[in-house]
Structure formats: structure tokens, C-alpha cells
């Protein structure tokens, strides 16, 4: 005889379909102002992202990872967190980062190869963009451990891509978060592609959310192109974690409309029909349609807002372009709280050499 000891189901939340039509009653937090703010932040994020790609194409930025199509996930997360919470992001979360006080010029600086881009002068506790895949989810569990030990009502949100869920660190983080009931929310940005590896090639599991089940954590899916749904489920998970009721895993289903980075060409491995179809599902147009239908927003207001955004972005880009190059001494000065003697010797050597080069090139 075999008896069932566990079973699971994975919920899926969506409020607005791809045509901007409500599929169910909108949640109670949805007021006109909230909707407009979510839409405007997504639009700002998209315009910033588009500008960053342009900067890269014109030689003013190094390789850049675009967030095109993922704005609802990122902005939904940003709108669900409090200032005192902490974000441990992966590299497609500019929306949330901007909302939390990271400056556009800092994001651009990072992608121009300057560590000062991670200094986050207005957002001192968030983690910088993490490059080695899925390693940040363990940092998030560590921060959440600190919150728990100090009995603080703060929450960590960490994000990763679909590919990251194949990493050992991802499983290890879910496991410890479940075992210790940590105040952390894991959001998987399932944009269907990890560079050229399709979601179906990552795992035979039907959903990525169900990976939570093995760790004893609830997992659910959400339409990652519906910012209302993202805010609804992420906020619910964040507040649950804040109330010390444990961690959650949220798989946000979306699509990477961009190449992996500006150094990638997705046409090599991805059918154009798939991309065209994905554009019909993208997050901004459905919300715009809904806002227009509700007469919350007009075409003219949209145009005016885009102009305002572009002005903001232009100012940030000008500030970014005017930033000084990092100092030669920056090479050494931040490895330790106090520079060890042997490193100081190398610092003196490098500084002298640099000055000599400068003199000779004048």
C-alpha cells in the first residue's frame, strides 16, 4: 500500500490580460494614483533602458543587459517594499533599483566599468547587481538571518532569472530560508531565456515555483507582465515575511524582449515569430490600454510624460558623462579597511607609473 504524504498545487495570479481587460476584480489597493504611478515608473524604466542601449551602441557604455519587457516585475517589486527593506537584485531590476534610490548615473557607471556605480549614495544598504548567477539569493538569506536574529520587522527581496534556478546556491538558499523561516521573498524573473538556453531546457519541472515545495516554502506563479498582479503577490509575500510567517517563492512569467546583453544576438537561437508574439503580451501597452479605457490617462498626457522622462534621463546621462574617471588609487584603496603594507608598496608603484605616463603623454 502506498499512501500520499504530500501534494501540491501552484497558483497563478493575473488581473489584466494582454489586451488590458480585467480577468477578475482588481485588488482593493488599486486606486487611480497607484495605477498611474506604476505605469509611469514602468515607462520611465523602459525609456531609461532604451537610452542605455543607445549609449552602448554609440560607444558611450560598455556591454549592457537590457530589462526590456521585464518592467512590470521590477516595478511591482519596488512598489511592494519599504525603504528599510533590502533588495538583493540580479541584473534586470533597474525599475526596482530606481524606485529604491539607486541613481541612473550609478547604473550607467556600473555598466561603464566603474565600481563607484555600486556605491548607491541614496540607497546605502541594498546589494549591488550580482554577476555570478544565483549567488545573491544566499546573501539575501544571510541578510534575512540578520533581520531575524535582531528581531527587526524588515524583509529581504531577492531576484534571479529562470536559469538561476538550476544553480546549487538557489536550492541551498530556499532550503535554509525554509528551515529557518527567514523573512525573505525570492522572485524568479522567468523571462524564458538564459542567454540561449530556453526555459524548457533548464528543468523538467512543470513550473519553477514548485521548486519551493521541496524546501517547505509556498511557491506561486504570477503574470510577470501584469504589474497589478506582481504588486499584489509580492506585497502579500513581503508582508507575510514581515509578520514572521515565513519566506515565499514567486515565479513571475515574462519574456526577455531584448537580447541577453548588447553583446548577444538572440536571432541566432530564437524564432522571430516567438518574439513577435511576446510583444503582444508586454507589460506597458496592456496597462496603458486599461488606463485609457478608464479615462485615467490620455494620449496627450502620455506624450507629455514621455517628454518629461526623457528630460530626466538626459540630465542623468549628462551627469554620468561628466563623472570623473576612477582614480588610480581606487585600484587599491577599497580591498581592506586599512591598506596592508605590501599592498601599499604596489599602490606607490602604480601611482608613480601612472603619473609618469601622464607626464609623457602631455
Amino acid at each position: 500500500m502506498m499512501s500520499e504524504v504530500a501534494s501540491f498545487s501552484i497558483g497563478y495570479t493575473r488581473f489584466l490580460d494582454a489586451n488590458g481587460k480585467p480577468t477578475q476584480d482588481l485588488p482593493s489597493f488599486i486606486k487611480k494614483e497607484t495605477l498611474l504611478s506604476l505605469y509611469q515608473t514602468m515607462l520611465l524604466t523602459r525609456l531609461f533602458d532604451s537610452k542605455a542601449v543607445t549609449l552602448q551602441r554609440t560607444g558611450k557604455l560598455n556591454t549592457y543587459a537590457s530589462t526590456l519587457g521585464q518592467e512590470a516585475i521590477s516595478v511591482g517589486i519596488g512598489a511592494s517594499m519599504r525603504k528599510e527593506d533590502i533588495l538583493c537584485p540580479f541584473y534586470r531590476d533597474y525599475g526596482a533599483q530606481l524606485m529604491r534610490g539607486v541613481k541612473m548615473q550609478e547604473i550607467l557607471s556600473f555598466w561603464k566599468g566603474n565600481e563607484w556605480g555600486n556605491h548607491y549614495s541614496e540607497c546605502p544598504n541594498d546589494f549591488p547587481i550580482c554577476v555570478p548567477i544565483a549567488t545573491q539569493v544566499l546573501h539575501a538569506a544571510g541578510v534575512a538571518t540578520a533581520f531575524k536574529l535582531r528581531k527587526q520587522a524588515r524583509v529581504v527581496v531577492t531576484t534571479c532569472g529562470d536559469g538561476a534556478t538550476s544553480e546549487g546556491d538557489f536550492y541551498e538558499a530556499l532550503n535554509i530560508a525554509g528551515a529557518w523561516q527567514l523573512p525573505v521573498v525570492f522572485v524568479i524573473n522567468n523571462n524564458q531565456w538564459a542567454i540561449s538556453t530556453a526555459r524548457r531546457a533548464q528543468t523538467h519541472a512543470q513550473t519553477l515555483a514548485q521548486k519551493a515545495i521541496a524546501a517547505g516554502i509556498p511557491g506561486e506563479q504570477v503574470d510577470g507582465n501584469d504589474v497589478i498582479a506582481v504588486k499584489f503577490v509580492v506585497e502579500r509575500a513581503v508582508e507575510k515575511a514581515r509578520a514572521r510567517k515565513g519566506p515565499s517563492v514567486i515565479e513571475a512569467l515574462s519574456y526577455r524582449l531584448s537580447d541577453h546583453t548588447t553583446a548577444d544576438d538572440a536571432a541566432r537561437y530564437r524564432a522571430s515569430e516567438e518574439l513577435q508574439h511576446a510583444y503582444k503580451e508586454e507589460p506597458l501597452s496592456r496597462l496603458r490600454t486599461y488606463l485609457f479605457a478608464q479615462t485615467y490617462w490620455t494620449e496627450a498626457e502620455d506624450k507629455h510624460f514621455i517628454q518629461q522622462c526623457n528630460l530626466t534621463i538626459e540630465n542623468a546621462v549628462n551627469e554620468y558623462l561628466a563623472l570623473p574617471k576612477p582614480a588610480i588609487t581606487d585600484l587599491f584603496d577599497y580591498h581592506f579597511a586599512q591598506l596592508p603594507a605590501d599592498l601599499n608598496e604596489q599602490r606607490i608603484e602604480a601611482t608613480a607609473l601612472f603619473k609618469l605616463h601622464e607626464m609623457l603623454s602631455q
Partner: protein, 326 residues
């Protein structure tokens, strides 16, 4: 004051600092009620409770990643890896993150943490329990690598490591855990990091070592005395950053130098020391700098480990060759 072993000195240092600093938190596998596989944390769970002594699930990358997140919040995690050979799944977190957070964020986030790990061969343990791969860590910018070689230095250096605002890899020679006892005053007084210790003063040769090999190096130095010769014996203690000044002063005095370490020879820390001394003390040298090290082979299972470890005979032979060189 009773005499205590090196492992008891570790326990004493942890106990002292946990009393002194509420931010110090221990984590690792089996470190709670069980007190750790070598009993380094014995009694601390009972004293400080489950919020200060965290028994973790069995996942090394997780232990490291978690420590990083905690440290970035200002806690001072002291994590135990059960053996150095099991720290490798955590190298990604240690090398890519612990060592880099301060630099990556230009000082905004840092990692004031200690990764403790039992290290070295000589206790007849199974495979992977006898590693001495300190080079992996010493080669990584942003890490401090510290190896104690006596109960007193274990106590003082561990306190310093915990108080240091940056990540420290603290390698505990298993062969020394219970080999000798020493009086160690529990005063909370730390020893300096980034400093080597001159254990014996002599005139004919400089012996440089660390960790468990200090034991044989000391015997070698003693054997010289019976022959009317004497050696400077230096415990490097902090492998990175290296206190080259202390080593240099000695070699400039004696003109002869033998470096003794247990780790494999190729790219061992001994190679770095020999290179630096050759660069800086070339004109003082009366003989080539020699190394006595483990072979460039996988650390063997128990039956051959004696043949792997540098023996006293081998050390004395190389010392003699160096002394006789003209």
C-alpha cells in the same frame, strides 16, 4: 591558570569574544549541541543559545553566502567549515563575494567575518580531511589568511581575526589541536595580524614555517643547538598579507634560509616567500633559499601520509645542505 590545548584555546577565544561583542555569531555544521566535530564550540550553544550558535543544514556554499549577507548587516559571523577539503563548494562565495564586497561597493558594504577550518594532514583521517591548500586563499585579493601554531597564538590570532573588519580565513592545524598544552591567559588580548613571530633567535640560518610544520621546525632548530649552531625560527602566522620585513631582517642577518611547509610545493606560499626574499635580499644570501614541502601530489590516504609530510630528517638534511653551501 591551567594549561590548555590549541582547540581549547580556540574555544576560549570564541567564548571571550561572544561575551564581549553581541554581534559575534557562530554558524556551521554540528557546532551547536555537538560542539563541532573537533569540539571547538563545545559548551557555547548552552551558554549563548540558538540565536548566537547556529547549527546549519549541510551546505558549504550556503554557510559562506549566509555569512556574507549577515556580515553586510554588521554582524560578525564566525563560520566553521568542518574540514578545509569541504570548503571548496564555498569558494565561489568566498572568492567572488566575501573577498570583493568592500572593493566592489567602494567601501559601502563589507564582510567582517571569519571562516575557520581544520587544516592539514597527520591525523589518519579519510580522504579530503587533510588538505593544506592555503595558496587558493592567499592568492585571492581581499582575503587575510591566518594560521596559528600554538595555543597562545590560536587564542590571540582568532580574537584579532574576529575583530578585523575584513574577511579572514583562519586555518587550524588539526595535528596541533591536542598536541601540546600551554598556559593561555583569558584576558581578551589579541595578537597582531599581518605580523610574523620570531620564535627562536639564532645566527646561522633562518627557518620559516607555519602551522603544524612549526612542530618539526622547532625540533630541527633544537637539533642545531646541540651542534653549536643556532637558527632564527619564524612563524609566519599571517600568510597574506605577508610580513616580509620580519623575514627579510632575519635573512639579511643569517644569509641562509629554509622554508618549511606542508602544502604542495608548486605555487605554495613558500615559493612566494622565496621569490620576495630573493628579490630583496639577494646580496645578503650565502646559499640558495631552499624549500621543504609536501610533494605535488594529492594528499594521500592515511597509510602514506607520513611519507607525504616533510619529516624531521628531511628538514635537517636540507638545513645541512644550506649551511654547507659555499
Amino acid at each position: 591558570m591551567t594549561e590548555i590545548t590549541l582547540i581549547a584555546a580556540i574555544n576560549q577565544a570564541l567564548n571571550y569574544e561572544m561575551h564581549a561583542d553581541q554581534e559575534v555569531v557562530l554558524l556551521g555544521e554540528d557546532i551547536g549541541i555537538n560542539g563541532g566535530v573537533f569540539r571547538a564550540t563545545q559548551g557555547l550553544f548552552e551558554k549563548f543559545g540558538a540565536d548566537r550558535v547556529l547549527d546549519t543544514p549541510l551546505a558549504e556554499s550556503m554557510i559562506a553566502g549566509l555569512s556574507i549577507g549577515m556580515a553586510a548587516q554588521g554582524l560578525k559571523p564566525v563560520a566553521e567549515f568542518q574540514f578545509m577539503g569541504f570548503s571548496y563548494p564555498a569558494l565561489d562565495q568566498i572568492i567572488n563575494h566575501a573577498a570583493r564586497f568592500r572593493n566592489r561597493t567602494r567601501g559601502r558594504l563589507s564582510c567582517p567575518l571569519v571562516f575557520r577550518m581544520p587544516y592539514g594532514a597527520g591525523i589518519h583521517a579519510p580522504e579530503h580531511h587533510s588538505e593544506s591548500t592555503e595558496t587558493l586563499f592567499a592568492h585571492t585579493p581581499g582575503l587575510r589568511v591566518v594560521v596559528p601554531s600554538s595555543p597562545a597564538r590560536a587564542y590571540g590570532l582568532l580574537l584579532a581575526a574576529i575583530r578585523d573588519p575584513d574577511p579572514v580565513i583562519f586555518l587550524e592545524p588539526t595535528r596541533l589541536y591536542r598536541l601540546q598544552k600551554q598556559k593561555v591567559a583569558d584576558t581578551g588580548e589579541a595578537l597582531p595580524l599581518d605580523k610574523s613571530f620570531l620564535l627562536r633567535e639564532g645566527k646561522d640560518i633562518t627557518l620559516i614555517s607555519w602551522g603544524a610544520m612549526l612542530h618539526e621546525s622547532l625540533m630541527a632548530a633544537d637539533s642545531l643547538l646541540t651542534r653549536g649552531l643556532s637558527a632564527d625560527l619564524i612563524d609566519v602566522a599571517t600568510l597574506k598579507p605577508l610580513d616580509c620585513d620580519t623575514l627579510l631582517a632575519s635573512v639579511e642577518k643569517t644569509g641562509r634560509c629554509v622554508i618549511i611547509h606542508e602544502a604542495a610545493r608548486f605555487c605554495g606560499v613558500g615559493a612566494e616567500i622565496a621569490a620576495q626574499l630573493s628579490e630583496k635580499a639577494f646580496l645578503s644570501l650565502k646559499a640558495p633559499i631552499q624549500r621543504v614541502t609536501g610533494y605535488d601530489v594529492t594528499v594521500p590516504y592515511a597509510q602514506l601520509e607520513k611519507q607525504y609530510l616533510p619529516s624531521l630528517t628531511k628538514i635537517i638534511n636540507v638545513i645541512d645542505q644550506t649551511l654547507e653551501f659555499t
